[in-house]
Subunit: 345 residues, 4 copies
Amino acid sequence: MNKHKVAVLGASGYAGGELLRYLVAHPYLELAWATADQNAGKLVGEVFGHLSHLSDVELATTDPATVPDVDVAFLALPHGAAASRGRTLADRGIRVVDLSADWRLHDAAAYSQWYDFEHPHPDELASWVYGLPELHRDEISGSSRVASPGCYPTAAVLALAPLLQERLVAPAGIVVDAVSGVSGAGRKVDADYLFSELDASFKAYGVGKHRHTPEIEQELSLAAGTDVVVTFTPHLAPMARGLLATCYAQALGSVGDAYDALATAYKGEPFVRVLPLGAQPATKHASGTNQALIAVGGDERTGHLVITCAIDNLGKGAAGQMIQNANLMLGLEETAGLTGGGVYP
Amino acid sequence: MNKHKVAVLGASGYAGGELLRYLVAHPYLELAWATADQNAGKLVGEVFGHLSHLSDVELATTDPATVPDVDVAFLALPHGAAASRGRTLADRGIRVVDLSADWRLHDAAAYSQWYDFEHPHPDELASWVYGLPELHRDEISGSSRVASPGCYPTAAVLALAPLLQERLVAPAGIVVDAVSGVSGAGRKVDADYLFSELDASFKAYGVGKHRHTPEIEQELSLAAGTDVVVTFTPHLAPMARGLLATCYAQALGSVGDAYDALATAYKGEPFVRVLPLGAQPATKHASGTNQALIAVGGDERTGHLVITCAIDNLGKGAAGQMIQNANLMLGLEETAGLTGGGVYP
Amino acid sequence: MNKHKVAVLGASGYAGGELLRYLVAHPYLELAWATADQNAGKLVGEVFGHLSHLSDVELATTDPATVPDVDVAFLALPHGAAASRGRTLADRGIRVVDLSADWRLHDAAAYSQWYDFEHPHPDELASWVYGLPELHRDEISGSSRVASPGCYPTAAVLALAPLLQERLVAPAGIVVDAVSGVSGAGRKVDADYLFSELDASFKAYGVGKHRHTPEIEQELSLAAGTDVVVTFTPHLAPMARGLLATCYAQALGSVGDAYDALATAYKGEPFVRVLPLGAQPATKHASGTNQALIAVGGDERTGHLVITCAIDNLGKGAAGQMIQNANLMLGLEETAGLTGGGVYP
Amino acid sequence: MNKHKVAVLGASGYAGGELLRYLVAHPYLELAWATADQNAGKLVGEVFGHLSHLSDVELATTDPATVPDVDVAFLALPHGAAASRGRTLADRGIRVVDLSADWRLHDAAAYSQWYDFEHPHPDELASWVYGLPELHRDEISGSSRVASPGCYPTAAVLALAPLLQERLVAPAGIVVDAVSGVSGAGRKVDADYLFSELDASFKAYGVGKHRHTPEIEQELSLAAGTDVVVTFTPHLAPMARGLLATCYAQALGSVGDAYDALATAYKGEPFVRVLPLGAQPATKHASGTNQALIAVGGDERTGHLVITCAIDNLGKGAAGQMIQNANLMLGLEETAGLTGGGVYP
């Protein structure tokens, strides 16, 4: 079988590097083009010490016009930098999987409010599909424009959507308290992300204003069939990878009911595993994989359900999910290239 | 000035070791006795590589009868092991600061419910003071029996008590989502606490049933003047020290009101600092100190206040607070021995 | 193509877990049997949170008699526990790849001296091949009894053997200063390996007496054609995986000569990469892979060459190399199942 | 007693921050002036979250002319930035403790060779004392110009000098293999020092050309009474603090002789501890202190002694030693302000 040719735009960041890693091992996809503005002209093997197998791949500048006619373009560009580029590539008939937020939100006003960004093509937002396969598989399969979810929304929505859908938790008063490894901030060179600042330390950030909030709310509102607003607090833990969302919601049923609803919703899903009652996922159990591990518990005295979801922020939270989306869009086996076990310990 | 003589029971655990470290630098306290059952007969310097200055101190077995007539006995023993020992020492007229939970809860029934432990002296629970100086300074000063708080309750109660007292948050629906460094689990030799299991990983534990819950509720109920129940979820982060509580409560006032209430409540407190609006504490900012760093934010759309409190779980969350309590009980300057700055980075 | 059936004895340790991970993704090998004495009766998915794909595999006790007729048996057992078991399996006609030291040393006396262990079958030591493919590929291909190298010897021998062979360094006075991640100590439950003890700390151990010394010397002596003794000091770094050997030897040629010799020796090797002069490998560049990354530098003033070699102690230092050996023994492509890129960051 | 007034130039880096921490707790020194060019105008408490006690100290620009008439000026400036400033302050009659390399080397040519820096005042190099109190206590006490040692030289020289002096190791062929925590690189904002790049990884750097080499050689040559050249390889470990030097030298006596020589040399030294034979120091045992922990072992087969020395790179390797030097220069107790125990775990 001939491999499908793909391009990666923004290949020198962490999500881009993880895409390249997945592509190396993918049976049906083949890297044909890679770009990275700051590292244009360098070889991939120079930019990433762990990708010397790709030392013959030279990084180009990120110009949609020079991208060859590939089957899929993966965009791992900063927010704001993908809106027009993604559109241009899609207009050329190339399937696009975009990791930026630029095409994730259905409501153009949310871009002004949360991103300080006037969306240049608000009337085209509806033509992109939100790429969470467990919720929108059929739309993704039939689409050539997929906006792959953010890391926090992936975990929070997988944890909560089935419970809202089944009316097992109240749509009001939901709290999402989440923790990410530092690679979630990308490869940005900033004093705040120096090793000595973050090692052996833990902190909250973006309280009340993180940009993933409207994305979580959009998908949970769809699941609930009513408007959902959430209080979302992200934190930074001293680890490079991994993400855990701990979600709190008022129970409208028992913990057992919630477990059953989650187990039913994800039965047969290759990348979501609901843990036995009483168990809790560690983020390292998903490290290097496209898996999401979900557990549900609760406190009967307070009536809160507590649902935790662990993913690799660069896997199911970024590059793994992009591959999963591309597999669907190309009609491939959904798990192709994503079956490698996690790296532990 | 003659130094006060103190004993440390349970000196070979992490809280015990931190007590010894504080005592070395304390201007008015002097270690006269140290015990550690598993390491009895060894020198402190053998048990703790960083305490070679104490290589002339031999560890005794933990028998209250053999403790000499010291001015203060610090108990850093497992839960259940301090109830009778603490009582015996107190009956001998020795001031006792106990770090176990054995004398913290006013309601004996809570021990059966949360600790699987029938309290041996339920009618004496009322004679012990809950040793959170910022809330109970006068009682502590006048007492010789102080139950020093747990690490999670210290952070959660400091974050929430003034807001409940001032009716700025609702007493119902409070969520405490907290994260501790691994030393919070003590020096227990268990596969779950091996370096390779925990490094680069993050997880929740004890969902809906952690034993610090009734302690948090007791103190918040006192502050609110009404029964408060909280949903409390502890997590483990890959760091040895540090604790952050992220607390969620329905706002009955603005973020500004909440900031003012906290700033007023802790004005003049030597060990609590309310950060400027917009700032967030990192646990490492409190590392090696007795400080608690508090920040308040919120999400107006959801009506939640988000209050974070960072401490060193072995400092304000354990040994530092025990020293602070002893200072008060002895009529010393409250900050004596606790002024050393934190270790950063 | 029918997959070859394999057994893993000692599947619940870290090397065993990594073997299972590699097997999941291997195109020609299939797990047919797994044992783990302490966890016998449990499912693999219960023992390893990251291997839920293997939740239908039950762990048996480690008895060679009950191992089915597999094509290859991988032994990841403690030293001393593999000598007889490995022999028994090999006598049954099963290919054996043993990760213990029990069959690595050609000189039976070395077992008494370094391992406090009287080898039970000294006259059979010669029938086993030392499984470092880059040095002994042909012997491995033709053998059914392969003793896979230790982690430190793998790195040190790859770094130094070509230089000794080409007489570019003196055989006397060699120093191997090496650093391993904590998983090198296995999953042993011991206070020394607790997270809080090792995080943010670094130390030497086994000075002058580490058991990998005779193994390094055996292979370097073979390469040099003369007796080589080395001063070897292992260290523990606060990371779960990764190993770096920094090797010092008196130069008999220039740094450029040394670079050329290494580049020539490893030309075409799929798992060894010699970095450009001036570059240095980070252990994370090899994390999750079977790669060895080598760099050479020197100090002309002192006449020392400094050769560094980075591997994943669980990859090329353990499970990856075992798979590589099995591939050779079965006549498969040497890289089968080992092409996945590393996990970074 | 009136406190001595001190200035810290370069107060917003990690060594500067550690100086401030030590000064807060110092009984006889008082901060009167602090500078930091990049953060001029900010309060110390804004620059360092852990130093809120210093929120009334505003950072000035680093101009020797505006420094008030203090008793001691501590310079924690980049190499090259201290040569003239230190001289200017000393000419004003202010005692200077300089942490840069600018006044450490006696041989002006070494600056050209190793630092690419033409020393502006080569004939004044002799008027500065190398501030390693264990070797040069009397000179330091009588001087007002002290060049405080680098972190690697402190550990390597303490480990080796007494053995060279007593002719227990050969002066030729010495290898210093050393490992530092990341704070040794300072607070430099560079992609190489991002958390995600360094966490869970280990690597060598500066092979054959690190600038601390001539400093180590200068002091070892003095101790040996003959020219000593060393092969020095620094490494970076995933921890913020801590430094271990593992030193290899040909033994001219037994391990026992070496132990005795070290024990004798450091008998009575408040900040150097020679561990019992067989023990090895962990860097965390010195964390937050001014201690150096030394162990000696060896390999009789190869004739190498292996001497390890653990320090806190920011303590005995930087700020702690600067305070120790200042104490000597002012005629204070040498241990003043430096008795706090280490932070463990």
